[in-house]
């Protein structure tokens, strides 16, 4: 054999902790955020927003605003009535789902505080904000609808004429009644998923510019491609005339997976005034009007034998849709529907979700979207079942989980888990956590009557990601496919452009995709540039959400590389005067088997292709290749997370003492990026457990409009994490699973289980999230005085306190626009 093929393979890029290519511009301020855009003649928008949760609009008068110096135009919803259409919902989950009209700007009625009712177009942002005060709106207030548990009562006021129920979606498999009817043990709990506000650090921003009959929209979006399609399909602008650019985007977490009112209106207003327009939200405006997450009541029942074997599971959800259905609002709970059985084997499962309208900001995808809710409920109730049975909670899990030799395993939901090893992840996590020592310390503290108790929380989670096989999405009535697109362009000088349809906003695609392509084509990492986020540059794509980029988009990149190599091989064969069948390709070189001197690099082939002087007959002078990959299956990351909390029983203060996360996300392309994703995910899940809640008062005003009221944790609020991995290969060609949401999905129940574990000796069986010191303290007091302390009872007690005037008071006035400094 030749020296070339015998030489040790060049170090593979896959698995290398490459420092990120993206960082150079981000650490020096050379970034390209949408709000940085300045176009000649550009005007600024400010929106007047409803101060009422629910009201008829009886009059809007913008004439005084038009008198203000520097104001170019002002409009109310009526001015757009003929062209603004309805914001799309792409996921009609049932045939009889109620999807109300959702005009981007309210015309007759407002249904949540913050809904846009008028807009000013002015020379600069300060002038636009000032002029909002001159707009006169008359409202006829209607009753708000705020509690999904009573919204379906006949006596409830209605959000929409057709009533407050949007849909009911059910799934069942196995004999559920049989599983429960003679079960020795049944445990039932009702859990509260509080409303969350995503709070990506970059507020939304939009710039729209028309050039003749074509429009360019810059937006801080996760979904430039879907947005382009939506602008065309739902707002009448021919698709070929729409270009959407997502420049540098400062985080999304699902909140920028949306077709927003402001995007649509910016396009319409720019066309109306004949000038480019910009809108940039303030944080207060964003907390009101960026879609929210979670907000469910979860009733979950588990039936088991005395030895802990799970017989059946029954889940009944109420999910708050908010005032309208936005892009995937009704589908979010369904992404959880298949995840309640999690890693456990059982005979029967039933699930029901009722989507309910309220006069609040619509909910939609937020990091994990459905799976955090499911994972929380199942991991919490497994702990409750363990306590009921007196079985060690890890032992109970082990008795029920799918053993590693049972993969691939088809779950009670019909999903086929392709790979996993729960034993390995758990064993490693226990060791890193020093599980047995902590259990001993916990016991000692109980025996000593220590006022600070130790709790150990377990979350042996799995999730479904890599969204998604198109045929499965179709079967769930989703309005699009789940494929992803990629193109490889071999440049004449041997450099490579990679065009990806997944649109990065912090995930590090430019680095990770370079690593993938470097391995496939054998070109240096530094010679590769990754292009994304502009529909002119990257015309096809399904964008970034659902931990799909690598498991779907990465596979498309690899598939496109195959095609490049296939084309190059034919030309290389001509160059080497050999048969293509006799060539092998390795580390960037085509070599003739058995002839060490006959080889050529892919870069030389690229140059020869560019020159095109001596290509074989009928061969096109191009190596460029496109691929579109549609996955066969979801991917199923899993892991074991262990959290130790110290709970001060006198103050209710919870301190996370240690947190160990062992994740199996399949093959890792860049461990540095993966670890970062896990860290950030953990922080967001811990934030749900301990800090964050979007709160509406009794009149439907959001009281958590600022980062002073909505507690996104700071460095001092969070622990240091121990992260490790185990690895089983996913069944796709790269063996990759996805990591963007795993940390968030796993960590919330780990933390809450730890708190309950610390307080179980006091009789506490639940604490409503976020587990603030006050709530923890009250749960202890309530349990000590014989109360049950379920989440629902705690919720009621808190509501009663609030209506007596002890609620946290929000700001008195609804912020109406950006920069009212």
């Amino acid at each position: 054999m030749t020296a070339t093929t015998d030489a040790p393979a060049a170090e593979l890029e896959i698995g290398r902790a490459r420092l990120r290519k993206e960082d150079a511009r981000l650490i020096t301020g050379q970034t390209n955020w949408t709000d940085n855009m300045r176009l000649p003649g550009m005007l600024h928008l400010a929106f007047l927003r409803s101060p009422f949760a629910h009201a008829k609009i009886t009059r809007v008068d913008v004439s005084a605003a038009l008198e203000q110096p520097g104001v170019i135009a002002a409009f109310s919803g009526a001015d757009f009535a003929a062209e603004q259409g309805s914001l799309p919902c792409a996921w009609p989950v049932t045939e009889d789902i109620q999807i109300p009209a959702h005009p981007p700007m309210a015309v007759d009625e407002v249904r949540y505080v913050g809904e846009a009712v008028a807009v000013v177009v002015a020379r600069d942002r300060y002038t636009a904000a000032d002029a909002l005060n001159a707009i006169d709106v008359d409202y006829d207030p209607l009753s708000p609808v705020l509690d999904i548990r009573t919204a379906l009562d006949a006596a409830s006021p209605k959000v929409h004429e057709a009533g407050n129920k949007s849909y009911e979606w059910v799934f069942a498999n196995g004999d559920v009644d049989g599983a429960f009817s003679d079960a020795p043990v049944v445990v039932e709990r009702t859990f509260r998923q509080q409303r969350l506000i995503p709070c990506a650090m970059e507020p939304r921003a939009v710039v729209a510019q028309w050039n003749g009959d074509a429009v360019t929209l810059w937006s801080a979006t996760q979904i430039p491609h879907i947005l382009r399609f939506a602008l065309s399909a739902f707002f009448g602008i021919p698709e070929q005339d729409v270009r959407v650019i997502a420049p540098d985007v400062g985080g999304g977490f699902g909140s920028k997976l949306q077709v927003t009112a402001e995007e649509v209106l910016a396009v319409l207003i720019s066309r109306r005034v004949g000038k480019p327009v910009k809108w940039n939200e303030s944080r207060s405006e964003g907390n009101l009007t960026v879609h929210h997450g979670r907000d469910q009541w979860q009733r979950i029942r588990v039936a088991a034998d005395r030895d802990g074997r799970i017989r059946g599971l029954d889940v009944d959800l109420l999910a708050d849709m908010g005032a309208y259905l936005m892009l995937v609002t009704p589908g979010v709970p369904l992404l959880g529907a298949f995840m309640y059985p999690a890693i456990y084997k059982m005979d029967a499962y039933s699930f029901k979700c009722t989507g309910v309208f309220t006069t609040k900001m619509p909910t939609d995808a937020y990091r994990g979207a459905g799976r955090p809710e499911a994972t929380f409920a199942i991991e919490r109730i497994i702990d409750e079942l363990a306590a009921e049975l007196g079985i060690e909670p890890l032992e109970l899990r082990e008795r029920n989980w799918i053993r590693h030799e049972e993969f691939p395993f088809t779950t009670i939901c019909g999903l086929t888990y392709d790979s996993g090893n729960y034993e390995a992840a758990t064993s490693k996590a226990k060791e890193l956590f020093d599980y047995d020592a902590l259990r001993r310390e916990q016991q000692e503290r109980i025996e000593n009557g220590d006022k600070v108790r130790l709790g150990i929380g377990i979350s042996t989670f799995t999730e479904m990601c890599g969204l998604a096989p198109s045929r499965v999405l179709g079967s769930l009535s989703y309005g699009a496919g789940g494929w992803e697109s990629a193109s490889i362009r071999m440049l004449p000088t041997g450099k490579v452009e990679v065009v990806t349809g997944s649109s990065a906003h912090g995930q590090g695609h430019e680095t990770a995709w370079s690593q993938l392509v470097a391995d496939q084509l054998g070109v240096p990492f530094e010679d590769i540039r990754v292009l994304h986020g502009d529909t002119l540059v990257s015309p096809k794509g399904m964008d970034t959400y659902g931990s799909r980029s690598l498991a779907v988009g990465g596979l498309a990149v690899v598939q496109a590389c195959d095609k490049v190599i296939g084309k190059a091989k034919i030309i290389a064969a001509a160059m080497l005067e050999a048969s293509a069948d006799d060539l092998e390709f390795s580390a960037g070189r085509f070599a003739v088997r058995g002839d060490p001197d006959a080889s050529t690099s892919i870069q030389e082939v690229a140059l020869a292709t560019f020159a095109a002087h001596a290509l074989p007959e009928g061969v096109e002078p191009s190596l460029d290749s496109d691929a579109t990959y549609d996955p066969d299956n979801f991917s199923f990351p899993h892991g074991t997370h262990l959290c130790a909390t110290e709970v001060d029983t006198e103050t209710g203060f919870v301190k996370i003492r240690s947190y160990v996360a062992v994740d199996d996300i399949g093959v890792v392309v860049n461990p540095l990026i993966v670890e970062g994703q896990v860290h950030g995910g953990l922080a967001q899940g811990i934030a749900q457990a301990l800090y964050e809640e979007g709160v509406y008062d009794d009149d439907g005003n959001l009281v958590t409009t600022t980062l002073a009221d909505y507690l996104v944790p700071a460095a001092s609020d969070l622990p240091s994490y121990v992260t490790e991995r185990t690895e089983t290969r996913a069944s796709n060609r790269l063996g990759v699973k996805g990591v963007g949401e795993a940390g968030t999905i796993a960590s919330t129940p780990a933390v809450v289980n730890a708190i309950i574990d610390a307080l179980r000796p006091f009789g506490v069986t639940d604490v409503e999230m976020p587990c603030t010191p006050e709530r923890v303290w009250r749960a202890i007091q309530s349990a000590s005085s014989g109360g049950q302390g379920s989440a629902e009872e705690q919720h009621e007690a808190r509501q009663n306190l609030a209506s007596q005037g002890n609620s946290p008071q929000g700001i008195g006035e609804v912020p109406q626009s950006g920069e009212t400094a």
């Binding site: 420092l19 990120r20 993206e22 960082d23 150079a24 511009r25 981000l26 650490i27 020096t28 301020g29 050379q30 970034t31 955020w33 709000d35 940085n36 300060y126 709070c199 990506a200 650090m201 970059e202 507020p203 540098d248 985007v249 400062g250 985080g251 977490f253 303030s282 944080r283 207060s284 906003h505 912090g506 995930q507 590090g508 540095l672 990026i673 670890e675 970062g676 994703q677 860290h679 950030g680 995910g681 953990l682 922080a683 967001q684 600022t706 980062l707 002073a708 996104v712 700071a714 460095a715 001092s716 609020d717 969070l718 240091s720 994490y721 940390g743 912020p815 950006g818 920069e819 400094a821």
Partner: protein, 155 residues
Amino acid sequence: MTHITVTVDGVKYVDQVEPRLLLVHYLREVVGKTGTPVGCDTSNCGACTVLMDGQSVKSCAVLAVQADGSDVVTIEGLANGELHPVQRAFHEEHALQCGYCTPGMIMAAADLLRDNPHPTEAEIREGLEGNLCRCTGYENIVRAVKRAAEAGVTS
């Protein structure tokens, strides 16, 4: 309108500004320093942190007129021919993902290390509590500040 003279990243600017103009909007929209972003409207997030006369300030909580006569350094002026040690450490420890909080976080960390060149982990976490990050969970930010401290940041 008020007349102000401000040095930004080593260049002197003389401008007429509205008295209510925020320093961050002066930097971004008058001087063109778009490297300093705005993340909130209540001075909680710290994304807009710059150095004013050597001290870190949230530039959304300072009026442009208050910066009259001051020397302001933004993320765009922090590197001096080569990356500032805190910038380099953020890159090497993967202390950023989307990068939106990063300019403010780096400026705040540089100021923290000027005050306390060898902070403990707790001191780093406390010292940066006025700067919010939604991506990293802070783990690698803490590591980066430690690394920069080891590299001996004094400016």
